[in-house]
């Protein structure tokens, strides 16, 4: 109990917790859940974007997209590593993802239907992710905070690239390209707003996480901040968002926006989004198809070790 009090005191003092430090079980579990969920999101997120690598419209865009998806794999890697410092192995986490036990960000259960989706994912989805993640750079668990600093830096880069690619299409593109961009915004806008999670009043886990410094800002606050930051960007771009209720509130100095369709949110979280089954099937197939490769690598390494010993 003394340890628990000391821990709480450190948190209250704004100290960072390292892997070797004592921590309460629930703190550890909450972190593992959150970090691994984040890692899984990076991995599953490779699929909707990967869907367009073979079809990118120019070699430059193909290179940018390849590099971006590669970065996401990299984020997955160091987030898994951060979670491993808490005593859970990557294999355990992978198993939880593949069995459907672990969650990942629901946004990746929507399909990428046109090339403009790639730009819009960069702009809106990475934008929302950054908004969510910047506070995590000050998370009380230091290895996670360090990983997030790197993730956020790269995500900002991706966000700018996505926005820039939309700008090019909107400013120099054909009418068909502009329509494609608007259509993509129409489809991704609401799912992007849902990325901040349920409304604060429906978010039971938040309070404890806030107290522990794992979560720093509430869902609704972040969502509002995102809308306020994004609408001016949409105006520069020359697109509208599909929300008839959106309007500037001079009093709040902030945008009012329409009601989110929470039934859709819960349906997708519950596994019934457009791509939930396919995303999990793709991950499982990759894992199962690769079993022989991983096994062979292990057996070969053992052979090498044995030979080295014998020599």
């Amino acid at each position: 109990l003394a340890r628990e009090e000391a821990f709480e005191a450190r948190i209250d003092a704004g100290d960072f917790i390292e892997a070797k430090d004592w921590m309460p079980d629930h703190y550890r579990k909450t972190l593992v859940r959150q970090i691994s969920q984040h890692a899984h999101s990076e991995i599953v997120g490779m699929l909707p974007e990967g869907n367009w690598i073979t079809r990118a419209p120019t070699l430059k865009r193909k290179a940018i997209l390849l590099a971006k998806v590669q970065d996401e794999g990299g984020h997955g890697l160091y987030l898994y590593a951060a979670a491993e410092t808490l005593g859970t192995s990557r294999d355990e986490m992978t198993e939880a993802l593949l069995s459907g036990k672990a969650k990942y960000s629901s946004i990746f259960n929507y399909p990428t239907l046109t090339w403009a989706d790639i730009g819009v994912i960069g702009w809106l989805v990475d934008g929302a992710a950054i908004m969510n993640q910047v506070p995590l750079c000050r998370c009380s668990y230091a290895p996670y905070a360090r990983a997030m600093i790197r993730v956020c830096r790269e995500e900002s880069f991706h966000q700018r690239q996505g926005y820039e690619s939309l700008l090019v299409m909107m400013q120099k593109g054909t009418a068909a390209q502009k329509a494609m961009v608007q259509d993509a915004v129409n489809r991704w806008w609401w799912p992007a707003l849902m990325m901040f999670g349920p409304a604060d009043k429906d978010s039971p886990n938040s309070e404890q996480s806030m107290r522990w410094g794992i979560k720093r800002v509430s869902n609704d606050t972040l969502r509002q901040k995102f809308v306020d930051a994004t609408i001016p960007q949409a105006e520069i771009l020359g697109v509208t968002v599909p929300d008839p209720d959106l309007k500037w509130n001079a009093e709040r100095e902030s945008y009012d926006f329409g009601a989110i369709d929470w039934s859709e949110f819960w349906r997708v979280v519950g596994g019934e989004g457009p791509c939930n089954r396919e995303r999990l099937a793709a991950r499982n197939k990759a894992w199962d198809d690769g079993a022989w490769v991983r096994e062979a690598a292990m057996v070969h390494a053992k052979k090498q070790a044995t030979q080295a010993q014998a020599a």
Binding site: L47, I53, P57, L59, K60, R61, Q70, G73, G74, S165
Partner: protein, 254 residues
Amino acid sequence: MDAKLTYVLQLADTCLIHAQRLGEWCGHAPVLEEDLALSNMALDLLGQARALLTYAGQLEGAGRDEDQLAFLREERDYRNLVLVELPNAAASPSDGSGGRDFALTTLRNAAVSIWLELLYERLQASNDAELAGIAAKSLKEVRYHRQHSSDWVVRLGDGTAESQARMQTALVVLTPYFNELFAAAGVAGVGPAWGEIEADWRARWATLLAEATLTLPRDSAMQPQGHLGIHSEHMGHLLGTMQHLQRAYPGGVW
């Protein structure tokens, strides 16, 4: 077509199409580290293709840039090796991206990277400064590819009985296509006939296979002619996918 332009395109298109196939792996590799490695290799090859295609466009002198060459030619004008256009798995005849066989991919990566390394080594000394520069810059990249994929060839060849069998099967599938690695003509002062690196390539390949406990299949008399613009049935499907946006949105700016 001008011999030098042809020579450059044969190399450029091989890098381009090889990158295209590698890109299909993204998100589907056996381990996350290989997802990164395969994308990385694709990125490097794409970079080489871009430099070479840009140069080809200059040689051609018709004002075509890398994208017009990459996306708006007809199949018969691509000069890549048939080897690199084959799907990532055998026996998915009418298509590519459906199947992904890590054995076949790994062997192909090793074969092509040894070949590129040998070619780039020689091209460093080309009288053509542009080509020499691209070769020098690319050499470091393909050396890494060669090292990485060779390690995997050994690991999988000399791994489990299953992995060895899979590698041997893939090797039998790919071997006839290796003939084309030595088929194209050289251009005096610019670059060697591919045949000039045959002995070196075969020696290195045999050494690698021996280390991987794999058996060299018997020679094949097949004569793939991608370098002359005559491809396999896979190429059309690959191009249909790759060119889709450029064809569907003429005049688009991306």
